[in-house]
Symmetry: C2
Subunit: 428 residues, 2 copies
């Protein structure tokens, strides 16, 4: 039989069991829609077989999803069919979209996904967030969103927008509680954006690493790994943890704080005032400081980060001792901290994102050596270390994915289009 | 509506949705039985209201549970009844029991719970496990179990036995993979006991701290706290983590390894050969070494541990500087490590068990000071530190609780008793 699993429960907590007929219907509509996304296009008969719903129910559900323009029916399924062949049902990506926005120390990014998870639009702008402060930053973000809505989402209905923040977020009211690298405390991001953008869909705010972990789980190279630790190296270092196929949130949604946790060298003082924070060893600033003197072009914030990282990689490839040592030190530091995470979470996979992924080929060997020495039982708990392929887009992808989840949870959010062509009703 | 949540999924992983009528029936029998345990005795009408099952179904389920001697019906419910008052349905504790066994460095313990979670029997024997080795230890444990079966479980059917081990356990085949404080590697505990005891019910093997965390969640002072970190101080230091109402297991069931994780002083060398293991700062041996010279009676393994801890407490109460300093050091070390766990898991509660609970009043203040300094956002992530009241019985209680879970998962495991009196069928 079929078991439905949800990765992300949003701010409202765990879903309750359906209470009445209408709720059962909504739940079954969502079940079919989600199954088409996760398992791919298939006939009504196959959907019935996969989900355990009876065929008449599936036909009725599919007809309603078509009325809501969430699915289309296409070619005839002839593969291994028993009895009359049925038409293949597909997700229809044209109707709705989810929007992900990321705010980081020196940029803002936006990405729009259609219902099938395909990228409709993406854009990134340089932004000195600590310098601008919350109000002017939110002005800029709102401009980015409004321009995107005009340019890319003109014919698609946005069903949600999720903002990724590098810090602690109270997801229940969308307030960025503490984001030290932005210099933010208690900034009401959700309400600030609500007042600035022309959107009547839900706006959510989430920790960036949590959203990246969700993106990795949903569409990364290790998608659907039940127990996964995601680490991202940027100015700060973020962590997002998937436990048994669900995002670890903790009591207040504050879990996975690794950057300012004492996983590093206890003698180093961090910008936050504490000693031993992991960021002081593996954060981007730590790498740059170790790799080059002040004034070196790799320190120039005006240049694109990818270009500066490529410069460091080029020097390391040319055998530059200082670059190699700096990378070795970060790799070792990654191993020290990751060993703690492996001992605590026992994941199948530790995924490295952000700049860790870009420079991964220099980091993996010293990291592995440290893991062999530090993991309690490396022969028993053999987590694989994997480089993310989503790069710096993981957080915006995760944000857009989460925005779309509301449609999979309740497809009746999307109204029946009165003006549309009649949906094909025959087929199975 | 009613949502059923399971804390412990055992070795078989996540439960699938029911596949057929018989499975639905089993699931509903379990739902009613579990509800009576968790919510207390109540009428059939109230059970129907609480669970969303219809009244006729509930009456039929209750009748079958009575036939299986798992429940009895008692007094008439007159509280707030609408319509005809119903008889109150209770769990019947007399039919079945669950057995928990704990193996630790210098003792073995056993505890028997009836279906209602009441203690039928408990016993502890001194045992030098590292000295005896696996085979002779299992002989002794088998003797303890067989004696208990004769003495205490004569009229009660054991439905399961769970063995707690201070180390990494492969719960899928009941092998203790690595238990450094016992000196064990790859010991087939389940098969070893299966061959030695006269039991035809399931035998499970689990990490001791995981079972203690389950006991705390099920029956401790902070029962049902969704996000809970349990730490136990014994010769080793163990951790068990509840995430959103479920035991954190990890990919191989190896999660929560805190004792040999680098949360302590990086300069201290551990018995396992690594540096910086948390045990070297907060383990029992570290406390005893700091508190008294070799030869002092608190080091005498022949004496009961509680007596030795009481001696240290008495010295501290009398103002003995060395004892106070030793306790202060453990408290600070607890804070350093717990800060990492709070940053990563963001729990509502950190529960201290084992010797941490016994000496807690000396540990809490230095621990709190360290937490204020080390938790990333102590104003946002305010975990409460709580002393366990289950003491050294947490692991055996958790083991017995887990053994009983099989009956709550599937009450039809218990056969209908042909010889019994007819069950009262009237009432609601």
């Amino acid at each position: 039989m079929f078991e439905e699993r949800r990765l992300y429960d949003g701010a409202v907590g765990r879903r309750q069991a359906p209470a009445d007929q209408a709720a059962v219907r909504r739940s079954n509509l969502g079940l079919v829609l989600r199954h088409l996304r996760d398992a791919g296009p298939r006939s009504r008969a196959r959907i019935a077989q996969d989900t355990g719903l009876n065929k008449a129910t599936v036909s009725s559900l599919v007809a309603e999803l078509a009325d809501r323009r969430l699915i289309t029916t296409g070619d005839v399924d002839r593969a291994g069919a028993v009895g009359r062949p049925g038409l293949i049902v597909h997700l229809d990506g044209r109707g709705v979209c989810g929007i992900g926005v990321e705010l980081n120390v020196d940029y803002a990014a936006i990405l729009v996904l259609d219902l099938r998870g395909e990228v409709l639009f993406e854009h990134r702008v340089a932004l000195d967030v600590p310098e601008l402060g919350p109000e002017r930053t939110l002005d800029e973000v709102a401009r980015l969103v409004n321009e995107t809505l005009e340019a890319a989402a003109r014919d698609v209905v946005p069903v949600g927008l999720t903002v990724a923040i590098p810090g602690l977020v109270r997801s229940v009211d969308g307030v960025a509680g503490y984001a030290p690298n932005l210099g933010w405390r208690d900034v009401p991001v959700r309400e600030g954006l609500r007042a600035r953008v022309g959107l009547d869909c839900p706006i959510r705010v989430e920790n960036d690493a949590n959203l990246s972990a969700i993106a990795e789980w949903a569409m990364g190279p290790e998608a659907r790994t039940p127990d996964l630790v995601y680490l991202t190296g940027e100015v700060g270092v973020g962590g997002g943890v998937i436990v048994d196929g669900r995002l670890l949130r903790g009591a207040g949604g504050l879990s996975g704080e690794v950057g300012h946790t004492a996983l590093g060298d206890p003698d180093l003082v961090c910008g936050c005032g504490r000693r031993g924070c992991w960021e002081t060893v593996v954060g981007l600033s730590a790498l740059l400081r170790a790799a080059a003197d002040p004034g070196d072009p790799v320190h120039d914030h005006g240049r694109d980060l990818e270009t500066r990282l490529a410069e460091i990689a080029a020097r390391a490839d040319a055998g530059d001792r200082r670059s190699l040592d700096a990378l070795h030190r970060v790799g070792t530091g990654l191993g020290t901290g990751a060993a703690v995470l492996i001992n605590l979470f026992n994941p199948q996979v530790v995924l490295l994102g952000g700049y860790f992924a870009v420079l991964g080929r220099f980091l993996l060997e010293p990291m592995a050596a440290e893991l062999r020495a530090r993991v309690f039982a490396p022969d028993l708990a053999d987590a694989r270390i994997v480089l993310s392929t989503l790069g710096f887009t993981a957080a915006v992808r995760g944000g857009a994915y989460v925005a779309l989840e509301s449609v999979f949870d309740d497809p009746t959010l999307i109204p029946v289009d009165a003006a549309m062509d009649p949906a094909p009703a025959a087929g199975s």
